[in-house]
Symmetry: D2
Subunit: 374 residues, 4 copies
């Protein structure tokens, strides 16, 4: 496949991010198809046209279904509100398109299941979800170290994902705080990332016991002196057990002042430990219990070209990748899948397994008991 | 009281630490009684004599009961193995002595309760347990900031206490790994510290749900090719709820490679956040959500003379206190209590409340359910 | 100007970096001309064709002079070896093209002067040199803070730029280590960056006293058992005075083991201090001597959308830009200059002032005396 | 020698620090003489008596000459103002006493030379100066690593020593800012420490070229609306060459906002690098260029009992020593010298070599030229 036609639905944070990835992936990776930016869709026509021009798409539309019929489009990016993911993804798959959909997958577990079923039916079509942090070369190097036994048998995982975008109790109420329109809160926005990293390094979850709370229960309604109820979770913590027998603890919060991209993980093994912090995403910290005791310490390893796929974007170590570049790598993985090469996108089946975990959080917290994850 | 006669039982890590505190406290604090180092007790007579000479004690003995009768002794340090704490402390209190006892308080909750009852009966006698980390000026400054509302209403606590003294699975089996002789494992050695800090900053615990595991279940028996079973816990994690309505997560491990004094806490509030890491015990990190957004960030505050009781030991900020100096402050608090001044030692009643929490960990983990803490 | 045709000379580290910037700039900034990637030039024809395809250029050539005649090209990127910069840049300017040239500007001060003269003559044509670190939002925020007086009068600057790409003494000899073919060593590769940052924050240099050394004087000749002499500098340190009356110290090394992008600066002022480290380029550390003494500390400020031009690339704070994205901002500045908007590219005149400083290093080190910089 | 009688002159920051060291050294080290705290001297009689009681000295005096005749005193601590060091030290040595004198040694080079001559004459008497940072176990471990060749041949040294005790330009004028009464400024207070560390790790200085400035030239006179001139240096920077052929840069400032104990050093070698920062004095950072490139990084090594003399004060790694404990180690080194054991105090001869370097700073800065150090 020399060229692939792509369409983009949505022009927000993630829409622009997908657009930039489409513009960069061929230059960075070389061994992927060239990208034809065929069409961009946004509900606001003027905005759609403006974005199409800026993002380099050939045409603009306000009707996403219009994209399905276009034979020049093989891959569709879905970056619309989460409540639309199911309908769009299922339709796109039915129309024979590959799909790159942002996370969280869907509002409900049923929706995620339906999407997974649709993807399973659409043999030969690739799917990918927006779990760019998994593509961080430092994280993948951690995975490799663990697989090689560098830190021995891993038995304990500590992870947190904290941001402060809802930390101020006076941030106004919006539809994003309702179960009906936005689904889960922190669990869907943040915890999914942490779960994806835990899976990547520790394997499948077996069970968990969670505590999920709304802390700032009322928020002011803008343009009024009233408040309205926050329905979805601010905080979600859990004890977890993995299928391997290992254990761990996950904490998450969207009301954690000072944390901007506070996704941190620690993996404890019988021969060493490693940890990462997304706010310093180009660093991996590694402790190995060998050599003279007096020379041991955590090593701060700066990402470099010897940590794939850093080399595709930069040959100079320590110069640093940015958040957007993880999406370029994510896209490359998807394009490898599209072209039938070995690759590791977070496809819908994998995404569904992540959704199962966060919905188990919710169930466990309600019942106050340990909950199995099938 | 111009002078106070003291005796020391035990000459290990903590014994020497108490001895150095006795040597320093009057020079540092000035407003405490002068210390008469009357007698030192160790089971090995030659070693007792050697240590008495080095630590500056007037005489040595191998019989701790001998100290009880000595009218020149008003305060007794108990740094013997934990299994002896109850008998010694109860006898010392009965003999009218003030008691400075190392943590954990005792092997069992019943023992801790008996000690607490003995202390309650001994009106006018002061008790203190070895929770030196509470005396860290950076920690006490955190407490003051919280009390002043600097970070608003506190609603989430994250704490971990990790060391690696048992991390190598080939470290041999010993009596310290049995329930009978050593009681709890990580819970008694490490988690107690974390619980003490959580209490100090968040108030009383209301309930918890814990996961407590032996990870390295068999260890080699020295001088043999056999292994023996490890009975007490390597790892102890819990979800917790505080009486205030706040919540949190505590993690602990004695098998965490790379952590040497990894006691870290994070307190999340509605206006800010603060965190500390004992491996950098002279630093407090504070984020306050005020001022222009673009200038906000975590502030690394170096401990200095404006953080009591740092000034008693050093007038120069950033020069740093050490672990041993926290014990000097702990001793000063005890001496203030002895002389009837306002003070805040961790007395036996407070120590008992800590023991209740770690024993609730054990019960909760066995039952797999949330457990109340009375 | 709705569209601008661009050509790229060179396909190495910087060539690819320019190519990716061309692919991203319109999506990121919106308010710049759309980019027509017209032609790519490389001496190797097959490689030129391959790169043109991957980087999205319409055609490939092996003759850079061929680009000069193409009316569809208005802007030319020069990322060829430094010894070719002068000839290409002067010719491109003469042909009416805008020029984006990598640093260091040229092998000799005379070459840099000639380029500057050519740019001065070419009124209405914009030039830019590859000083992307100046475009770091965290650095520009530092500049703004200083301008606003946030740290008072600035009087001392400490800067270092260290990498380890030549640190191993067994790295073989190459033409890059000769004065004739490569010009200065660390001074041209690294010190120029540091000088550019010092200028940006402190203003013009007045004089300096330098120490410039070759440390690993002989390097093995590949495929032989001989060694050859290294002619250009491994290390360059200097005391400096600025026209403002402030002072400072600059250190640089290409043989500094462990440093991958070790560009660090510290600015001392009468009311505070700030520092940055390029290995953590999304962080600015700021200390302001106000508020209660016990609450003061260095604040780690994470770059975010309130630090221009971070917002053009990402709306989420702390998510982090990468090295390549600084080149996108650099390109946007150049395109603003091309379209006559206020902008701050490092044009040839500014670049020449940087070259004067590093050549003054060399002269001062030879004479062992303080040297004026005109 | 089983016991040694000691006297203390001065009761300020360093006086109290010496007192605490006398109280701790025998308990910590065991293999040193027991300390008899014989007499304390302060010019204020009531204060002398109060301090003698608190610091545990048998008697108090206001006449330091009175100590010279006391046969029960073998060692005298001099912590009085620097202008008195020469007279007291020379007299104490003449009276047959060992001397522990705080730094800087004296106001002038002539005074330091006279003290050195007196010490040379007093064979069998030990002298030590207050360079406690040299006793930091992390620093001594760095020295050992260098000696073992862990980082190869060392060729570059970067050091800074910055504090902010004079950073506010409104801090009032005092006699400490005059040449006559206080001698050098930052050079005597801070740079001496940096020079001592550079010597310890790099060997003797050969020459330097310095820049020494008064930045805040006038300071307010307290209780008046006038200002008075600051005569001694705020800032002192230098390029240096060592006798070994290595080079380096030293920077110092007493007006560096935010730095509380900012003594940092970096040693660059042909196989690796190491660095330390006194504000985190229990950490050594080490990079060694071996093993797979992708696993390399700076290792943060926490001080522990395997780093002598940490073990004398604490058996638990990572628990951390404090500033005061470095003085305990310093005292132990002096006591080893007193008792004829191998030891490494900074004696007067070594101290004189440090004074030569800082006075060379002053001369070089005045002449604006490179200056030899004999």
């Amino acid at each position: 496949m020399e060229k692939i036609g792509v369409a983009l639905i949505g022009t927000g944070f993630m829409g622009k991010c997908h657009a930039m990835a489409y513009g960069a992936v061929k230059a960075a990776f070389g061994d992927v198809p060239a990208i034809e930016r065929a069409a961009l869709c946004d509900v606001d026509e003027a905005h759609a046209r403006k974005c199409a021009a800026e993002f380099g798409f050939a045409r603009a539309t306000t009707d996403w279904r219009d994209l399905l019929k276009d034979p020049g489009i093989q891959l569709i990016s879905i970056t619309s509100p989460n409540g639309l993911h199911r309908e769009m993804a299922v339709a796109a798959l039915a129309a024979g398109k590959h799909v790159w959909c942002e996370k969280p997958m869907a509002l409900t577990l049923a929706d995620a299941e339906a999407m997974t079923a649709a993807a399973a039916k659409a043999k030969g079509q690739a799917t990918a979800l927006g779990y760019g942090y998994l593509r961080n070369p430092a994280l993948q190097f951690a995975r490799k170290l663990i697989a090689q036994g560098a830190i021995g048998e891993v038995f304990d995982f500590r992870g947190s994902v904290d941001e402060d975008y809802m930390a101020d109790p006076l941030i106004p109420w919006s539809w994003r705080l309702t179960r009906k329109d936005a689904g889960l809160g922190t669990l869907g926005d943040l915890t999914v990332h942490l779960v994806s990293l835990a899976q990547e390094l520790m394997g499948n979850f077996e069970s968990l016991c969670a505590m999920v709370d709304v802390v700032h229960g009322q928020r002011p309604v803008q343009g009024s002196d009233k408040t309205a109820a926050v329905e979805n979770d601010d905080i979600a913590h859990a004890l977890v057990r993995f299928a391997s027998g290992a254990r761990g603890v996950l904490t998450s919060s969207r009301i954690a002042h000072g944390r901007k991209n506070g996704l941190k993980i620690e993996v404890h093994g019988s021969k060493g430990m490693l940890w990462l912090d997304n706010e310093r995403m180009n660093e991996l910290n590694l402790y190995v219990a060998d050599g003279p005791r007096e020379e041991r310490g955590f090593r701060r390893i700066l990402a470099g070209p010897y940590h794939p796929a850093y080399d595709r974007l930069c040959p100079a170590p320590g110069h640093g990748l940015g958040f957007n570049e993880l999406k370029v790598i994510e896209l490359a993985e998807l394009l490898y899948a599209v072209t039938g090469r070995p690759s590791q996108p977070v496809d819908f089946a994998r995404g569904f397994s992540i959704e199962k975990v966060i919905h188990a959080f919710a169930r466990s917290a309600e019942s106050g008991t340990w909950t199995k994850i099938d």
